[in-house]
Symmetry: C2
DNA sequence: GTCTATACTTCGATAGAC
DNA sequence: GTCTATCGAAGTATAGAC
């Protein structure tokens, strides 16, 4: 039951935003009255916290596994594909984690920020390693390469259409190619 | 006075989110009591609408001017720089427009979506033109190149530090290079 | 475990004095 | 133009019956 509440809350929060979502509406989506929700959940904010922490545990685990199983030369491409597949596979959770952080009150907000930073450090670690192997440009501070990559990846969930032309894995490959090879025509006179 | 209210509201909404911001707090930041605000403003939502529409007018105008003054071969790079400079120069407005759209009620929400789509179409237009001139890869649907570029650009305002190492124009050049040339080491064996 | 009823708080917005 | 006072609505959460 708890899992059902969490999944429904994630869907609701993603669609309407945390602050605009009411416990009454959430209960209604599950087929309960508002008060009955509090038999399972301590507070509305607990739901946001659980959604956020689960989202980060999931993507960090998925990406770590992908890297571990990957040949060094494929690490970055596999990271990108794993990130996209994980984020799109947990779209509601992930979108809520990304956009509703400021609605968490202080002890737990910092906890989510730390988990987010840890994931970011994992991504940066791969980028730094690729630079050391001369597979990524070294003329750009890895900090900016990491930001650029996370921009590219994170915000995809806000426009991706689940029934569209590209499966998550294809989209991941596409984004990996844009990030690594670039959008410029190879050999173009620029 | 109105401009001061709008700028303060944008700053407040960006920091705390629209729904979590109260008119009492906004009034306090200006040095007024809550009721006095309503001498200048009809409703809280009016502020959000004005912030959003101004943000889009600004960036669309800035980018259009940059393209018009640009040699064809530099159009995309100039677009990227203009986008970054405009967005960072109106950081509060732009961030609010990007992240608080769902708090607008229906007649005006669609209006903002339309303005956003129009700007997106402008960006896509340049990308399509660059493909036609063989300066951008044609093996990727321009729709995805546009999404990727806007991901890269739009979400930069959420981590950019105004006093950091890079000025907006430098950051724009950097992001242009990542998007066009890619992050991969030139000639690397991948 | 689910309900009705309600306590408690806070918000956006208004009324009306000055 | 700014204030104090307040209205009416809506929200989270709780009490207590069943």
């Amino acid at each position: 039951m708890e899992w059902r509440i969490l999944a429904t809350a994630a869907e609701l929060f993603r669609t309407k935003g945390y602050a605009q979502s009411t416990t009454r509406e959430l209960a209604g989506m599950i087929g309960l009255k508002k008060a009955s929700l509090y038999h399972y959940v301590e507070s509305k904010e607990d739901l946001l916290y659980e959604i956020s922490i689960q989202s980060l545990r999931q993507i960090d685990g998925d990406v770590a596994a992908a890297i571990a199983a990957s040949a060094p030369a494929d690490a970055l491409r596999d990271l990108i594909k794993a990130h996209i597949c994980s984020a799109l596979g947990n779209r509601d959770h992930h979108a809520v984690m990304l956009s509703e952080l400021r609605s968490l009150s202080e002890p737990r907000r910092q906890q989510i920020v730390k988990a987010r930073d840890a994931y970011e450090a994992r991504v940066r670690g791969v980028i730094v390693a690729e630079q050391a192997e001369n597979r990524l440009r070294s003329d750009i501070n890895p900090k900016y390469l990491t930001f650029a990559l996370l921009n590219l990846l994170n915000w995809t969930i806000f426009w991706y259409q689940p029934g569209g032309a590209l499966e998550p894995e294809q989209l991941g490959s596409l984004l990996a190619s844009i990030f690594i090879e670039g959008a410029g025509a190879a050999g173009a006179v620029t």
